[in-house]
Amino acid sequence: MSTYFRRFYSSFTSHVVDIPPRLLAFLLFLLLLTFPVTKPKFTHLLLLALANTGAIFAASWDLLVGRCGQMSMGHALFFGMGAYSTGMLSIYLHWPIWVTIPLSMVVSVLLALAVGFPCLRVKGPYLALVTMSFPLITTGVIFYFKDITMGERGLSGLDRFFPFLPYEQQYLAQYYFTLLLLLASGIILYKIANSHTGIVFISILDDDVASKASGINITKYKLMAFAISAGFASMAGAVNAHMINSANIGMLSLTTSFLPIIITFWGGIGTIYGPIAAAYILQILDRYVLTDVVPLETHWHMMIYIVLIIVLIIKWPRGLARYTTDELEDLEEARDIDERGPRIWKKYKKKEKK
């Protein structure tokens, strides 16, 4: 027993404690894990739980765009489809939550394959625009089938996660559940991004003609990235819908499509761990600083974020996470490894050297 423990400890020190960014991530996770000790209000717990799902959503977008280069501006499609399919299954068929969420993921992956196959024939900006039109169309379909989808009001009264617990403890359980879900999906996404498949994704990002010439079936890999990303996005949407007890049109709006973009550009595109950290910053800024400290109308929030995004893209395109890890490690090699990331950052680096 003690040898196992010692082995675990030594592998832990060599894999986590000795590498400052991982130690930082671990400390952040510990902080989030012990946050409920401070006895926060349960609304704050709900907000952090929502930040967890937002982080999954943003990380899934980052895998698709930051690592594979397939620009999607309609990621709300998968988020909203996840929410709506789990909502419909649990309201009309009364299936338990643990069945409907995986089913909604399956629905979204199938939808992603159906949408992705024609869409991935176009590249770059055209792909972004084509994907952007799909959530708008889906909104039209939802309005058309008003008697099933409830139109503008949206589905309400979805099941809660842990209905057998007392009311206050439900929020705590939800928080821990989403935190573990975030940890699991974050690790899975990070592992995918750094596996052999992930290297193929990066080759498609860098030069798809060259990777095609090297004998890679790029359609297959693009579809794979699309499907993985859609699966995680719909999981985030479904969990989100069950936490706020409703699935509504707002989940399919352009604002929702832009949410992962905002988070990812703050955190650092192409890092996977960057968006996860930035999701908390956005949520704290959105629901605490801009509502409690400096109360502003919600329309102003979006404007502030977008202005920040534009300034960041122009002036500081590496994002928060890369900046932090560089400051911590101060290693040239680490920067070279990170150069596998998006083109935006390379351009910036060239400028820096001059």
């Binding site: 765009v65 280069g69 620009m71 501006m73 196959f117 024609p118 869409c119 991935l120 024939r121 176009v122 590249k123 770059g124 900006p125 055209y126 972004a128 625009l129 084509v130 952007m132 039109s133 799909f134 708008l136 169309i137 039209g140 379909v141 309005f143 058309y144 008003k146 798809d208 790029i218 359609t219 352009l254 604002t255 832009f258 973009i261 550009f265 109308e297 329309h299 102003w300 979006m302 404007m303 977008i306 202005v307 995004i309 534009i310 893209i313 122009i314 395109p317 998006p342 083109r343 935006i344 351009k347």
Partner: protein, 271 residues
């Protein structure tokens, strides 16, 4: 992509210049003739287009993803500004002329006819400009390969600014025409329907082909109208919500069967 914003900006400027009152404040003294208002709207939107280009697009022009994010960001900023300033209400817009005529048993208003004539003229002028004039051929050269065009001594930055101003003014004209002739309202979400319509049209017609765009627009328009007509003849209500589905279905079919579109020449596609 900032065209959604410019389209909307044109329509709003036209609306505020021709409106008779706003929030009870009478605007009669500065109310302008629609013809004058459209010219002012076009000029202001062109200037706005140039400013947007200089401030946001020009620093990141090398990266397409960044350009897209930035331009969609501009659209959202404008949308939120309009919501804060004018609320998300639908504002009625003055149409050019009153009255209608009957053509083949269909009621057609004069302002719709005027819009048709203006867009036809614009199309012809644009086509001649791009294919025949020197600036037009420079534009095509830059579109083909920016770096080589730069090596040939073309001032790409100035050309982009000019192109932006031109397309901004065309977008403003489109915005004014659509609000003043068909929809009749200006509202902050007015840019999304024309947006996906235009992508369906451009993909159907083929990227980089103005002739294809023209024919594609007619095909999409007719298919949509026929769909709504058939649905209403069959007694199914609410078909207008499915209008976009038709456009996107056409787009997906085109992408599956003939990915370069009807008249596409440039190979921007994967295979």
């Amino acid at each position: 992509m900032a065209h959604g914003a410019l389209f909307m900006l044109g329509a709003y400027i036209y609306w505020i210049l021709t409106a008779s009152e706003f929030h009870g404040v009478p605007l009669e003294p500065i109310q302008l003739h629609p013809g004058l208002a459209i010219i002012i709207a076009v000029i202001l939107t062109a200037i706005a287009g140039m400013i947007i280009y200089k401030l946001t697009i020009s620093p990141v022009i090398e990266d397409l993803i960044a350009v897209l994010v930035v331009t969609v960001g501009v659209v959202i900023i404008l949308q939120e500004t309009l919501i804060i300033e004018f609320s998300s209400k639908r504002w009625p817009v003055v149409s050019f002329t009153k009255g209608f005529t009957t053509f083949l048993g269909v009621k057609v208003t004069y302002s719709e006819l005027l819009a048709f004539a203006v867009s036809l003229c614009l199309f012809t002028v644009l086509w001649i400009f791009i294919t025949k004039s020197k600036i037009g051929s420079t534009m095509r050269a830059v579109a083909q390969d920016r770096e080589v065009a730069m090596l040939m001594g073309i001032n790409t930055d100035r050309l982009y600014t000019l192109t932006m101003a031109m397309s901004a003014s065309i977008a403003a004209v489109a915005g004014v025409l659509i609000t003043a002739s068909t929809s009749g309202f200006a509202y902050p979400h007015m840019w999304d329907t024309p947006l996906y319509m235009s992508f369906a049209i451009v993909i159907l017609g083929g990227l980089g082909s103005i002739k294809g765009t023209f024919i594609g627009a007619f095909i999409i328009g007719f298919v949509e109208m026929a769909f709504i007509f058939i649905m209403s003849a069959l007694g199914i209500s609410g078909a207008e919500f499915l209008k976009g589905v038709v456009a996107v279905t056409v787009m997906v079919l085109v992408l599956l069967i003939r990915p370069k579109g009807l008249f596409g020449k440039r190979v921007e596609m994967e295979d």
